[in-house]
């Protein structure tokens, strides 16, 4: 039935091979001397099979593309808007103002006392947690849109598809750096220089959040192509998640500690299945709690997160006077164990995300 001919007579009639091709049967990267005298180019043999790619070598040749995609994300965001990049500053500041009014003025939640920075500002505490949170949430949410929005590229050209969520995360990271730098300037101006000393730890913590965000972005953007509900569901998920993370309220309300008025708040306890837990322990199951607390501790308090466990301190009374030496929990508490938990989680999310993405990315051109 089939008239297929693997070896057609015409094969022999083809023009003689130009000399450039010297590949052996399993030869890789034969040297090419084509282009009529241009510099010789190495030519790669690419093999494409049913199995997923698991090599990292090809990333090298796509560096340029990655930069291009990232810049595009950054530029396209505020295209055709008058204020343009101003929005990236206005948004967090507006959020800050709203939360400060609602939480600090209406609900009269006292800001935590920064030890040793002696900062006492709800707005600054909020920014320390909110900026990383915005990067985290924005990376994941926008990756989903980006993967859908680049349908045409994915269906017509080949490149490692994870570059698209990757570029979105990178663009968020760039904005995050700008915002964080401004926050640092403010903190150093009104508060404590120690935040600068701990800058390397801040950077490591940012790196952990970014790694986790990348993993989540890979999972969510891929999943969203198959089930578009994920995007809608994520709006709710991140809203709830944010309130389960001490971004908008101080940590002492959960785990106890010193409030800005110099009063020691007791830890909250919860009774669950016949056991009693401290609410702080439950909150710590959420690794983003550790991340946010680390930022608050490093930037707002001006202290290493782990040093905040149990400290002797001079409480500041409501009149601003210094009280007698007291012992107690202060500040945002992240033990080294918590920090390791955060790191392990971030790496696990990233590995799982990359693995899932590579496992299913081949179906993207068909499913989009």
């Amino acid at each position: 039935m089939s008239r297929a001919t693997d070896e057609s007579p015409a094969l022999q009639a083809w023009p003689a091979e130009p000399s450039s091709l010297t590949t052996g049967a399993e030869g890789r990267e034969p040297a090419g001397t084509d282009n009529g005298g241009r510099r010789s180019r190495r030519r790669r043999t690419t093999v494409h099979t049913a199995k997923p790619r698991f090599s990292f070598r090809e990333y090298g040749q796509y560096r340029e593309l990655f930069i291009n995609l990232t810049l595009r994300e950054l530029r396209s965001k505020y295209k055709r808007s008058v204020i343009g990049w101003g929005w990236s500053m206005i948004n967090p500041l507006a959020n800050m103002a709203i939360y400060t009014i609602v939480f600090s003025m209406l609900f009269r939640i006292k800001a935590p006392l920064g030890v040793p920075s002696v900062l006492n500002s709800y707005a600054l505490m909020y920014l320390c947690g909110m900026l990383p949170w915005t990067m985290w949430q924005g990376s994941i949410m926008e990756s989903m849109t980006a993967l859908l929005g680049n349908q045409n590229l994915i269906q017509k050209t080949y490149f490692p598809r994870e570059l698209i969520p990757g570029a979105t995360v990178a663009s968020k990271l760039v904005s995050h750096f700008i915002e964080m730098s401004l926050l640092m300037v403010v903190i150093v101006a009104v508060g404590d220089w120690r935040a600068l000393v701990y800058l390397p730890v801040v950077l490591v913590t940012i790196a952990l959040v970014v790694i986790a965000a990348l993993g989540m972005a890979l999972i969510f953007s891929l999943g969203n192509v198959f089930y578009r509900d994920i995007m809608h569901f994520s709006n709710i998920l991140f809203f709830i998640w944010m309130f389960l993370t001490p971004v908008t309220y101080p940590w002492y309300l959960v785990a106890g500690g010193l409030d800005g008025g110099g009063n020691f708040q007791p830890p909250r306890l919860v009774h669950l299945l016949g056991h009693t837990f401290s609410l702080g322990t439950l909150f710590k199951l959420n690794p983003m709690t550790d991340a946010v607390l680390s930022f608050q501790s490093l930037i707002y308090d001006g202290a290493l997160p782990s040093s905040q466990h149990y400290t002797a301190y001079y409480p500041i009374t409501s009149t601003g006077a210094q009280g007698p030496l007291t012992h107690g929990y202060v500040g945002a508490i992240v033990s080294w164990g918590d920090y390791a938990y955060l790191a392990a989680w971030a790496i696990a999310v990233f590995v799982v995300g990359l693995w899932l993405f590579r496992r299913y990315e081949a179906r993207l051109p068909e499913e989009l």
């Binding site: 089939s2 008239r3 297929a4 001919t5 693997d6 057609s8 007579p9 015409a10 094969l11 009639a13 083809w14 023009p15 091979e17 130009p18 450039s20 091709l21 590949t23 034969p30 090419g32 084509d34 282009n35 009529g36 180019r41 030519r43 790669r44 043999t45 690419t46 093999v47 494409h48 099979t49 049913a50 040749q61 796509y62 340029e64 593309l65 930069i67 291009n68 995609l69 595009r72 396209s76 295209k79 929005g149 680049n150 045409n152 590229l153 994915i154 269906q155 017509k156 050209t157 080949y158 490149f159 198959f226 089930y227 578009r228 509900d229 994920i230 569901f233 081949a362 051109p365 068909e366």
Partner: protein, 397 residues
């Protein structure tokens, strides 16, 4: 033996066909976690090799898997079985335009695509003018590509694809969108590429361009490779198969119309009135149509259309130009078109006959490719072409 630069080994590709496609978790849960779907093999165990410096044409009916094959070669689709290996830089211009982002300007897209093909910013800058020149879209380069016409879109896409100096170029059927001038430029570029030892794989439905450009052709049918080799024989096998397909005595498909008047029989007759399927160039031929009506029809027009196997219409004489339109036609009868000297050059031709109303807009009965005949050479004939213009030569010294 030459080493292939593109080789596909036992490549199979399946698509999932979702009935009532619904990308939502609710739908998935209601189906019990599984999508109700059929599998469909768009490519079924296809192996092929393309050698350096060749121009290969992929031919086949719509939906036969040509574009799917090209996407597997371009690494856009991953085969479910088998493997594809390629040597050197590949650039592809797939069906329905290039991989452009509609919101970006032409310029931004050029840089984006260049980066995808692995060019450095600097190298692209050097080539940018060439790319814009070749595309010939002028100041539109700074417009978002969503505002481009489809021809401009393809022009820019093609211009990028060839100006990045690929070793292998894949082109899917898109050039037909370009205007005459652009198509000509493209053909020149293809021959440049060939001259420089580059490899080109094109998908085309124009058998003429496959024959003109390619030195190798592959015919796909329903996801299988049917023939592979010299373009002339592959194209003949393919077009022959179409003709065979269409000559099966099916009443449906090749016949349509409202049916008040019907053409019951079509005969090709030679001088002596014998029925023939083979005639000689320049000899007499008569086409006789037998009709029957189910109710009286006013002012019917009969026509006979002669086509080449590639679908080119050579001529469509009708009874209207002959001023032979009866006011009313009823019952049965015959109409005859008589050609005293058949001007067709040797080859195979198809006849499509029809009876319509006077405006030609309403068909009573159309029978497509109802008869096929071969024209043989008679004495000296012209080497190339479809019809003989007749005429005579003379020197004027």
């Amino acid at each position: 033996m030459a080493v292939p630069v593109v080789s596909a080994e036992h490549v199979s590709k399946k698509f999932r066909l979702y009935h009532e496609r619904n990308n939502s978790i609710k739908a998935a849960v209601m189906r019990g976690g599984r999508n109700k779907m059929d599998e469909f093999w768009a490519l079924d165990d296809v192996s092929l090799e393309v050698h350096e410096g060749s121009t290969t044409g992929l031919v086949g009916a719509n939906g036969s898997g040509k574009s799917t094959m090209l996407k597997c070669l371009a690494r856009i689709l991953r085969p479910d079985k088998g493997s594809v290996s390629t040597v050197g830089k590949m650039s592809a211009l797939l069906e329905l335009g290039a991989g452009f982002h509609p919101e970006l300007t032409g310029r931004e897209n050029v840089f984006l695509n260049g980066a995808i093909l692995g060019l450095k910013q600097k190298e692209l800058q050097d080539r940018f003018d060439d790319i814009v020149d070749f595309a010939g879209i002028g100041q539109f380069i700074d417009e978002p590509v969503k505002n481009y016409s489809s021809g401009m879109y393809v022009r820019l896409g093609f211009s990028v694809a060839i100006n990045v100096e690929p070793d292998i170029l894949l082109v899917d059927e898109v050039l037909a969108v370009g205007d005459e001038a652009f198509q000509r430029k493209c053909l020149e570029r293809f021959s440049d590429l060939k001259y420089n030892g580059k490899t080109v794989i094109i998908v085309s439905h124009s058998m003429q361009s496959v024959l003109n450009m390619c030195d190798h052709a592959i015919w796909f049918q329903r996801g299988k490779k049917m023939a592979d080799g010299d373009p002339r024989s592959v194209v003949e096998a393919y077009t022959g198969a179409i003709v065979l397909d269409e000559h099966r005595p099916t009443e449906k498909g090749d016949r349509w119309g409202s049916g008040e008047a019907r053409i019951e029989r079509v005969e090709l007759l030679d001088e002596e009135g014998r029925e023939v399927t083979r005639v000689r160039s320049g000899e007499p031929l008569r086409v006789r149509l037998s009709y029957a009506t189910s109710e009286p029809v006013a002012r019917p027009v009969f026509s006979v259309s002669v086509q080449t196997l590639q679908g080119l219409v050579v001529s469509t004489p009708t009874t209207r130009e002959a001023d032979l339109v009866p006011e009313k036609l009823d019952g049965t009868g015959r109409v005859e078109l008589s050609l005293p000297r058949l001007p067709l050059l040797p080859g195979t031709y198809d006849l499509t006959v029809s009876v319509t109303d006077f405006t030609l807009a309403h068909p009573y009965d159309v029978r497509r490719n109802v008869a096929r005949f071969d024209v043989d050479r008679k004495g000296q004939t012209e080497p190339d072409g479809i019809v003989s213009l007749g005429g005579s030569w003379g020197f004027d010294a």
